[in-house]
């Protein structure tokens, strides 16, 4: 029993120390992901374009931005919380799309699914700020159930948007992992590196031949499995 408890304690300790390590590593890896992606003006342009588009869409749906008869933006007291959430969602969308494009360009990794779910949730909940426009359609087609559906979306609009932000943050976490993982060195690094170097030697020879024949392009864009040493 005592040994078991000791084992359990040591397991808990190692788990908590791992958690602490992962949290402290986030402090370095998230800025690292930003440093890797955003020095390139193309990604800044993508993030800005996505942010602007989503900002306009969200604020039009929230009935805060009007194009006619005169172009007006106004922020009544009841819409301040929603407006703050909208800005956060749009900014996260911009960052995520830019980071996902970076991942697609630099590797064959699939686009993160949580980007879709987060953004769809954000759009659906903000669309229901002015739900009455589609409310009639839903009510007339679904009857009483439609009223329940629109009531739910309207009444729980803010919590739903907060959930969408949480999903987008999760997407940010996973996409930053994809960007930074190839650059992180762990305790087994020299051994692994030695193994991979040996395994990759014939491949690298082939690549060298390709590189010399093609125009001068970055190595990192060709092979996502390259380690930091390779990059350096």
């Amino acid at each position: 029993m005592g040994e078991k408890r000791k084992k359990g304690d040591s397991m808990n300790l190692s788990n908590s120390s791992r958690r602490r390590q992962s949290i402290t590593s986030l402090k370095t890896t998230i800025p690292l992901a930003f440093k890797m992606v955003f020095p390139n003006p193309i990604y800044i342009a993508i993030a800005s374009a996505v942010f602007t588009t989503f900002w306009i869409v969200f604020n039009v749906l929230d009935q805060l931005l009007f194009f006619s008869p005169v172009f007006t933006f106004y922020l009544p007291d009841d819409a301040i919380a929603g407006f703050i959430i909208t800005n956060i969602t749009s900014a996260l969308m911009g960052i995520l799309v830019a980071m996902n494009v970076y991942v697609i360009r630099n590797s064959g990794i699939k686009l993160d699914r949580s980007l879709f779910s987060g953004s769809i949730l954000g759009i659906a909940s903000s669309a229901c700020a002015s739900c009455s426009s589609i409310g009639f359609l839903i009510i007339s087609t679904l009857g009483g159930f439609g009223i329940f559906a629109t009531d739910f979306l309207t009444n729980y609009q803010t919590p739903l948007r907060v959930v969408s932000i949480a999903i987008l943050l999760w997407a940010l976490y996973s996409v930053h992992n994809k960007i930074t993982k190839p650059c992180i060195l762990d305790s087994s690094y020299p051994k692994r590196n030695g193994e991979t170097q040996r395994k990759r030697q014939p491949q690298q020879q082939q690549q060298q031949q390709k590189i010399t024949s093609s125009t001068s392009t970055l190595k990192t864009e060709k092979d996502p499995t390259l380690t930091r040493d390779d990059i350096i």
């Binding site: 342009a45 374009a49 588009t53 009935q63 008869p69 360009r105 759009i123 009455s132 409310g135 060709k222």
Partner: protein, 254 residues
């Protein structure tokens, strides 16, 4: 939005197809596609806004509807405020449970009232469009019952002031009667008999029919019309005062 996802998906597929013979052209094309998708999305939003404004100004502008004349609306018993000799009528189609209608009443209506209604230039008329929840119809019936005693606007403001989430019970029949008790000078017995008998159910249904005939499904929706029922123009949603000012000034000047 769909364009984004379609664009990104296309890029993924193309990138995978070209993955074996990687070249810089592929990664450049990704950026090009993303930028194109963004520009197209922005264009879509703009075009929708433009078509909306076009509809707003020109669909109804040329038609004349005697049903929308101020004299007819007053004759029918619609709640109204402002001079009966006003040149322009602002008809508000609202639901007493709708949060965006509440935003209009709190943020925009006071400015319209002080600028145009008090000055005798515009008459404000209320039409019921109870489509937001199960408690919307009882709220409309109760409000119309207060109009019998000339207390509609007091009751209307009281309900919007105490508005809660849709169908949360704040506009239940009991609560609507309790709100009526707070209206000074209202004969409660008359109100209760009117409310319990659903006296104004056909009236509210006729309001709904008029709203649907005009194509209104969103609350709040507005028609700004010359008092003889001509030159009507639509505004949809709880738009800010400058939007109303632009349309009303145009009507007053036209």
């Amino acid at each position: 939005m769909a364009l984004y996802y379609f664009g990104i998906y296309t890029l993924m597929v193309k990138h995978k197809a070209n993955n074996n013979n990687t070249n810089t052209r592929c990664s450049e094309s990704i950026t090009v596609y993303i930028v194109i998708a963004t520009v197209l999305s922005a264009a879509l939003v703009y075009s929708q806004a433009y078509s909306y404004s076009y509809k707003q100004f020109y669909t109804f502008a040329q038609t004349q509807n005697p049903a929308l004349s101020l004299s007819n609306l007053i004759k029918e018993g619609q709640p109204h405020q402002g001079s009966t000799a006003a040149l322009v009528t602002l008809i508000d189609f609202s639901d007493l449970q709708c949060p965006l209608c509440g935003r209009f009443v709190k943020a925009t209506e006071p400015q319209i009232n002080s600028t145009y209604v008090q000055a005798g230039k515009v008459a404000l008329v209320f039409e019921h469009l109870p489509n937001r929840g199960f408690d919307s119809l009882p709220a409309a019936l109760a409000a119309q019952c207060t109009n019998d005693q000339g207390k509609f606007w007091l009751y209307h403001n009281l309900l919007y002031k105490n508005q809660g989430p849709i169908d949360s019970g704040w506009a239940s029949k009991d609560n609507l009667k309790k709100f009526a008790l707070q209206v000074p000078g209202l004969d409660i017995q008359k109100f209760n008999s009117c409310f319990d008998s659903q006296k104004y159910k056909p009236f509210v249904e006729s309001n709904l029919a008029l709203a649907h005939s005009l194509g209104f499904t969103q609350t709040p929706s507005f028609i700004i019309v010359k008092s003889d029922g001509s030159n009507s123009q639509q505004l949809l949603g709880p738009q800010p005062f400058p939007e109303f000012k632009a349309v009303i000034d145009k009507e007053l000047g036209a």
